[in-house]
Assembly symmetry: C2
Homo-oligomer: 459 residues x 2
């Protein structure tokens, strides 16, 4: 393994240049206006894999192409599916970026660009580690299958059908995904729990056009007033969700889990300072970490209606729109939640307003067993890559493919996050630590060796 570590150290500069090249491609999947960049990013990843000598292909889906490549089988050793995504979130609000989102900039040990941590930087670590094995040992200790998709940020449209159709080709013993965060700088974590997601858009329509708020106000139902009331009716001020039955299937936190979470070195005042607030709120009876990782939540992601320009326009708007989403935990069923939500909102919708509710995407929450040999192997690999044993955490974010792989391939997923909570994923000034980029690659290289120790029967 010394040769391997030495090789990785020598390649660091090239690895960073390659990351910058991928980050320059504005592969935004939302809105559908960036098809050329999407395809360019897919081609870039495929070519990168071909340089390892792997026969990489672009496989079409009903949305953006998937990049796929596999190394030769290794008898008796596990087959590992490495999943990542080459698409990114929209960069707006643009004026809050210190350097342009698609012009990677190195500052204080980080690389700043949209997609740096989510997920271009993290997915590259696994390609680089495989390359290191092939360059130094001439072979990989496990069979690797790379599945890099391009629609993750918009709900992985088309991936379900793709994985269902290609389940034989994708057959594996375990999945590895690096698309999450360490617990703290230098304190790696293995994420064993993920929240699910149910994302909705609500459109409210009142009068057939905007009206004078003086002539009609108070007598005609105002869709924006109504949007405020309907959203407020979804949750109380401390974030408790009021949709009937919403909590019925929630698996409560165990005493052991709450102890484990409470034991983590989490400094709330530091957390508040980091995000720039003088206080936090949330569901009563739960800590900030429990709210973030293990309790269902509801956030309005966007709202609009009426006059947003300068000055004062005395208008009663004809329409209002809201994007909002629930974060779900095991065993909440997104389909049941959507049904209960629609019935509840319909009951809240007053005369004179037409409502239209669309579920934009959804996935259940999941928890992965802590005691599998794969989890043990990952623990050792991370200790060698980062020089420190990982803690076991949960995530507020959602990775629907983890559910997909469980359902379609019957395997668990190792969620090995190389990022940091303050990497600004989905925000302006997204970044990835160059040190973590290096440590993640090293941990990945050791992961292939640790997983190679596990004996599996042939399939």
């Amino acid at each position: 393994m010394q040769d391997l570590d030495r090789y990785l150290n020598e390649q660091q500069a090239r690895h960073e240049d390659e990351l910058c090249a991928l980050l320059r491609i504005p592969s935004i999947s939302a809105g559908g206006a960036h098809q050329a960049a999407i395809r360019q990013a897919a081609e870039w990843v495929a070519n990168r894999l071909r340089r390892l000598g792997l026969p990489a292909e672009l496989l079409e889906t009903s949305s953006n192409p998937v990049v796929y490549a596999a190394s030769p089988p290794v008898a008796g050793a596990p087959t590992v599916l490495v999943y990542g995504h080459y698409d990114v979130q929209p960069p707006d609000p643009l004026d809050e970026w210190l350097s342009p989102p698609f012009e990677p900039a190195r500052r204080d040990g980080n690389i700043y660009a949209r997609g740096a941590t989510d997920d271009k930087g993290q997915l590259l670590t696994h390609i680089q580690s495989a390359e290191a094995w092939l360059q130094t040992a001439g072979r990989l200790p496990v069979q690797l299958k790379f599945l890099i998709e391009g629609a993750e940020e918009t709900g992985s449209a088309g991936l379900d059908e793709f994985v269902a159709q290609e389940s034989r080709r994708l057959a594996c013993d375990v999945v590895v995904i690096s698309d999450s965060s360490q617990f703290a700088p230098g304190q790696p974590a293995i994420t064993y729990g993920l929240k699910g997601l149910a994302y909705f858009e609500l459109r409210l329509t009142g009068p057939h056009q905007d009206l004078h708020s003086g002539s009609f106000g108070g007598a005609v139902t105002n869709p924006v007033n109504c949007a405020a009331h309907m959203m407020a009716s979804l949750m109380n001020k401390s974030g408790k969700i009021r949709v009937p039955g919403f909590y019925d299937d929630v698996v409560p936190l165990t005493k052991r889990e709450r102890r484990q979470l409470a034991a983590l070195p989490f400094d709330e005042s530091e957390f508040m300072q980091q995000i720039g607030v003088d206080g936090v709120t949330g569901e009563r009876g739960y800590t900030t970490l429990e709210r973030r990782w293990a309790r269902p939540t509801c956030d309005i992601n966007g709202i609009w209606g009426g006059y947003q320009g300068d000055g004062a326009k005395t208008v009663l708007p004809a329409k209002a729109g809201v994007k909002f989403s629930f974060r779900l935990v095991p065993n909440q069923d997104p389909a049941q939640i959507a049904q209960a939500l629609e019935a509840y909102l319909a009951s809240q919708c007053p005369p004179g307003i037409r409502m239209e509710l669309t579920c934009m995407h959804s996935a259940p929450g999941i928890v992965v067993p802590l005691d599998s040999p794969y989890m043990q192997a990952a623990t050792r690999a991370i200790e060698q890559g980062f020089g420190r044993a990982p803690v076991f955490t949960r995530e507020g974010g959602s990775i629907p493919v983890v559910n997909l792989f469980r359902a379609q391939l019957g395997v668990d997923t190792l969620l090995l996050g190389w990022g940091l909570d303050d990497d600004n994923a989905h925000s302006p000034n997204e970044k990835f630590s160059l040190l973590d980029f290096q440590r993640g690659t090293k941990a990945s290289a050791h992961l292939w060796s640790e997983l190679g120790q596990i004996t599996v029967g042939d399939r």
Copy 2:
């Protein structure tokens, strides 16, 4: 008066062409991006008055110029101040206009353009009627002073100071304003009551930037969630306002007024059809007309925050903004309302959110006595102009200058509306009936003669 009526009939085509010329000028006062058009409209009105032989001037204010012109005094007869405004509302949403807002289009007896009814068409009727007197009788039976401002749609900035400074020059016995509506097509009205206005912008700031709603949702106060809760807390679902003390000074409707309003031929199902809703809501215990004209209300005029684009962005927004306004009735004090509002919203603002509340403009409500000789004169003039006696109504809209003239000049205002409720003031496809344009001009010509019968002492 026959000569006068004949002259007006002959001039109708020219009057319409002149209206179109004025409507082509996009004199939008909101946002401040249309200074050239504002000045062009002011010059157009001044030149129009000069063609009557009146020495019209542009008088600068702290915002847009006022057009002023006066005819010679008439001994023993009243001096009448005619007020109007040459500025207009922004035309957005543009895509809902059937013809461009600043390209006047004649359709089914109406002229369609932004400002057609509010207020370019209505103000022109008084200039045309004065011209008719001068062309036929060679003189006016009263002294007319024209005060046409250019910032009414943004709260008449600078007009208070102007009227205070120029109170001697503007001295008069009564003010005439046509900037409101008939009760129904062909059923003219005199508006004896107006609502006041208190218009606010609320800015809420949470984290110093947008956050990932998965990693932070439920643990960090979401400014858009908070905006929904704060707005919902302002009023209940039926529109009753919850700000403590809000109703303390409200002058209740008298039994006589409620009878009078109930007697008006108002068809609620027709009203709902007109605005395109299948039901209406509002303050319990009051009729639709009472809600519109005589009860205080609260409308959100605009709201924004987070992601408004296509697709789904799982973001916890850093900021939210709301424009909202209360419509006030006698004797509510806008300053007291603003104070109570700020205290109330502050009490509703949760930890982790910074709030900033700006009062953008305000005016108290007003009711004008029904029994003054000026009101009687207006009643007779309208009967002659429209062939039908007016009904007496109130308005949900606000005309702050009515308060200004009462305070600074000590006079009442005659609100003689030639428009219609479905003229789409402040909405797409604003229009003005060409027949009402003609009837309003005729009523105005008779008004000068009726007012001329009133004897007043010299000032």
